[in-house]
Amino acid sequence: MTVLSEAGSALPHGGSKAIRRSPYPGWFFLPAALIYGVLFLAPTFASLYFSLTRWTLFNSTFIGLDNFAQFFREPFLVQGLVNTVLYAAITSGLKVVLGMLLALLLTSAIMGRGYLRSVVFFPVLVSTVGVGITFTVLMHPTQGMINDALALFGIKGPGWLVDPRLALFSVALVDVWKGVGLATVIYIAGIVAIPKDYYEAARIDGATKWQNFLYVTLPLSRPATATVIILSFIGGLRTFDLIWAMTRGGPGFASDTIASVIYKQYQAGFYGLSTAGNVVLFVLIGILVVPLTMFLNRKQGHE
């Protein structure tokens, strides 16, 4: 409702110098900041130096911006960039939408709710390796279950992972399958946090189920939406594990994203180059995500 005073706020009057301690003390940051700063930020920023070197892990030679030049010369960089953005947009978009819908369903009074929640969350638990293998099997062009099922309807299923035009989307779908449970639980947490008074008010105001959703659930689950969008979008821009497990960026280079290109560089032992790639990817993600977060956090529903 109203803003509590903050530490060190400039006071127009002199008087006693007693510093008013905020009820939200800075030292709450301390444990997290210490761990995060020492174990993540410090090494990460230290490693930025290596993006300017040719680095074998054993020794490094300073080569200026050559790595960046090399990175931008990667033959499939543009395609990778397009793939990256497409992949992130598709996966995060679908996760947001499906996660929201599933969460709505799973917070409503529905038969078998506990079961459904578990089932939806289940894929999150299964290791990426297992998911990758399972879906390469399901998506097998000639013996895969999916195409077998389509064949029942007389449709000749495509080569999901073999067709270079489809591979990325197929992987994206599997990513959604695997990740939607996570989005769903976050949304569930968001939806249960909405006081039911507002629904009651809306029902009295004459809202249909849809309007209820549109005007109450959607705006008031903004914390969840913001979280899901940010997490899944960044995740989408950065993932390679599922791509790696399912197509290795293939067929050929068809499903390569920037992250998988970087990963391959890393795997190939091009440590400096991949660090440079990470810097580039970081900047790219930053350009996309920082405005997005600012937008999402700008006007929070509550407060």
């Binding site: 509590l4 939200y24 090494p43 990460t44 038969m111 968001g190 946090a193 969840a224 821009l237 977060t293």
Partner: protein, 275 residues
Amino acid sequence: MKSRPSIVLGIIAILVSALVFLVPFAFIILTAFKNKQQATLLDFSWPDGFHLWSNIVEVVTTRNWMLLTAFINSTILTVASVTLLVVFAAMVGFVLARRKTRWNGLIEFLILAGLMIPPAVVPTIWLLQGVGLFGKLHGLVLIEVAYGLPFSIILYRAFIATIPRELDEAAIIDGARPFDVFFRIILPLLWPVTVTNIVVQSVGVFNDFTNPLYYLPGNANATVQLTLYNFQSQFNTSYNLLFTNILLITIPPLLVFLFFNRHIVAGMTAGAVKG
């Protein structure tokens, strides 16, 4: 009006979920039932015989019961790091959401950075060695905490706004120190979010593979994901055992989820404030 469970919708949902979510799962189970030869075919055929038990025995006993060691290690790792993670992240999220200062932007950016940049393994190992934490379980715990913080903080930060600030104020007036406000008021009310955090992070840490691999070498320190490599190599994989193993290591997180899922309940803040 009626709060009777919707049966029709329920049945449809159950059927669809069975198709979408359980078919792949069925594949994993079926494969776990097969022998190596049949499993290699990687298809949906019915198992030729019941090999689940022998698979389980083999998976569990492989390499001196490595799976059991791994279970113990992973459990300790998960419990310790998730506990710290939840508390520390909630503390940061709390202050970050409640207190507006000009540093917030920077702090949030640094947190986001944790999601945007992959950790730098080698410098981190140097650092861990420097402080004597390399190859130690508690070192890995701290690593998991560090890597998990951004996610948890973002989640908490977003959700703290759903708790009316009046409750903080009431507690402050009641004489609560920041610590009390946080642990007695905020954290309990964020329980659904905490549950989400616990579930997600436990799964993440439990299933983590890269970090134990690099930061905690050694057989005695194996974690569950590493056990998958017992049955999988670059050129040769025992799919029956691999999938049995996958099945076995999926169960604990599933139990965690089932346990906590019931705690995600609505109406935590009902009745708190008027207006």
